[in-house]
Subunit: 353 residues, 2 copies
């Protein structure tokens, strides 16, 4: 064929958010796999685990005790990667400053338990409980945004052992920092220059294209659309976009909060149903800096899922070698991934009867 | 303390090659780990495995048969991510071109077996055999550089199941492409602008700083220095730099080839000795584009090791959550990692008596 076919020919797609590319090798999906097989996740968990440091009433490292919470529960991470009292920046003197650049950084890390139930995951929770989670995010984001020294608030969930999650109790984390981390800084820069060039919002324009094409949509509700982005790196990566312009959680009204809770459940439920397993992923919210330096009109709130699984509950994609040294590479196309996720039901396989 | 201490206070370091940062949280190294434990690598392997598709004389997928090679052996990957005959670029028409950018890409993928011995790893091989590997790299790089449609040659080794390596037989890969992948493109851009600003070579200036400081050096020979870079992301990441200016393998004389083989063995041997295990990593060579568009004087040849292990043979660092959404994070400092690697012997633990 002299015409480029996405499902046949190696090609490269460009990510306008990061200005980086991904190599797509669709013809390679059938290669045999003799490599590492992930341990299958333990499926039966107790509703309460006396050894879990996130369960209600239990003691945590350092001796603090959790309350007997019955919805969400927020606390400061006992092993926080960031601390509020780091001495401020003091570059060492000398000629090294051009190559050995360093700055002391302040910040704080929080943990949000989603539910007292040790055995639940987002995919199995009710939309009502997840509305509680979204409201807790919104409240925490607001509090941190109001904190003077905090300029960026990263909310994320590591789900599953394959994603380095050390506790299966449903929870997420917030790492709030006085600096804007590398990835969001790059994305906001690119969103901004798009707005300057085109006088419109990058991700709203992108959503319009996707709604027209319908090829990469996974599921939708009145307020949000979940899709596999054209430039997805992970096999079943998804991007959740609001239908209208909103920059952060603070811009969502209560209908949109419900919409976000609904789509959070539906996407994770489809994930679990894809390989009939508790599907690992990192989820993250993208929100503008809280430094008040800009109105950040060019930013569009969004939620992403980066899941590692490729072919089954135990065979994952490794981002190594060429991916570390060169650029990310994927086998199945984003369109094929979207098609498979579209075919997954939204009733959890464990609840089927 | 009001002074920033690298071993105590959270801080951020800047990588001048990528212009991205890494968050260092040294106080966090002692947190308990209840997460995923890697399967310990199977230690006793046969010298020849009749089921291995890389062993001499065996058949590969697709039916081709390996020769009875006794040094290195090169062939085109049977499941190549890149193909030489992809139809050339044909952007789809329409208004999507700003956000849905795609190009067909040509390339080729090769595999280099390092030795007929199925049970060896680089750490256990003789310097003489590794000189053969370096010469094979040089020859393959030259052949690909001379190939008209190839503009970048990525040589890398994925070692160990934790790095997605599907076959323990010692080997590396080459992915050669008509495009310059994202990571090298960014690094060459930054090396170039450093040269324009400072009239000197970034990585030679950097090496001079490190040789003076001595804090992050792991080991050296007459031609190469292995160190943990100031901006290392992975716990025991290393960077191997030539002492003099050379852009690619083509610039190395035979003494330097021997020096590279020597340091390749010594670094990987220290890695194995660190946790007394067959230490997983991705290794890669950084070399300028082969497109002839520039003399690439500002580029400096280098070799990197990205290893995932953090605390033991079975506890790894996960680059997830904050790392995917925000920026890479590490616990132990690069100086602490270098100190530990410096203390490792250069005689392999398996050969000790
Ligand atoms: O080619 P292999 O060793 O089968 O595969 C491995 O290396 C490739 C190149 O780094 C990666 O794309 C794969 O994800 C990884 O599993
Ligand atoms: O905080 P946790 O869940 O113990 O740790 C996990 O998430 C962190 C934030 O993404 C990562 O830095 C760790 O590598 C990972 O294991």
């Amino acid at each position: 064929a002299s015409h480029l076919e996405f499902t046949e020919h190696p090609h490269r797609r460009h990510n306008p958010l990061t200005n980086r590319s991904v190599l797509v090798s669709p013809h390679r999906a059938q290669r045999p796999w003799q490599g590492q097989v992930e341990p299958a996740a333990e499926e039966q968990k107790p509703t309460y685990d006396p050894k879990c440091y996130l369960c209600p009433g239990n003691s945590r490292a350092g001796g603090k005790q959790n309350p007997k919470y019955d919805e969400t529960f927020v606390f400061t991470n006992d092993f926080a990667a960031l601390l509020p009292d780091t001495p401020s920046f003091e570059q060492q003197d000398g000629a090294d400053q051009d190559l050995l650049k360093v700055e002391g950084v302040k910040g704080t890390c929080k943990v949000i338990c989603f539910s007292p139930r040790h055995d639940w995951t987002v995919a199995e929770m009710s939309v009502d409980s997840l509305i509680g989670v979204v409201r807790t995010w919104t409240e925490q984001h607001r509090l941190l945004a109001e904190t003077d020294y905090i300029h960026h608030v990263q909310i994320f969930e590591n789900k599953g052992q394959a994603m380095g999650c050390s506790n299966p109790h449903p929870h997420c984390q917030i790492w709030a920092t006085e600096f804007v981390p590398t990835e969001p800084a790059v994305e906001f820069e690119n969103m901004k220059s798009y707005m300057q060039r085109k006088r419109s919002n990058m991700l709203l324009d992108y959503l319009a294209i996707e709604l027209k094409a319908q090829e990469r949509i996974v599921c939708e509700n009145n307020h949000f659309v979940a899709l596999v982005p054209f430039w997805a790196e992970w096999p079943f990566e998804t991007l959740v976009l609001p239908r209208t312009h909103c920059r952060s959680l603070q811009d969502l009204d209560s209908n949109q909060q419900e919409g976000l809770a609904d789509i959070y459940r539906r996407v994770t439920c489809r994930y679990d149903n894809l390989f009939c397993c508790s599907f690992p992923y990192s989820m993250g919210l993208r929100q503008p800096p809280t430094d008040g330096k800009d109105s950040y009109e060019y930013c569009q709130f969004n939620m992403r899922f980066y899941p590692p699984l490729l072919r089954s509950a135990t065979v994952r994609k490794f981002m190594v070698g060429f991916e570390m040294l060169g650029e990310p590479q994927r086998d199945i196309t984003p369109e094929q991934a979207a098609e498979r996720l579209r075919q997954c039901p939204e009733i959890h396989y464990k609840h089927k009867n």
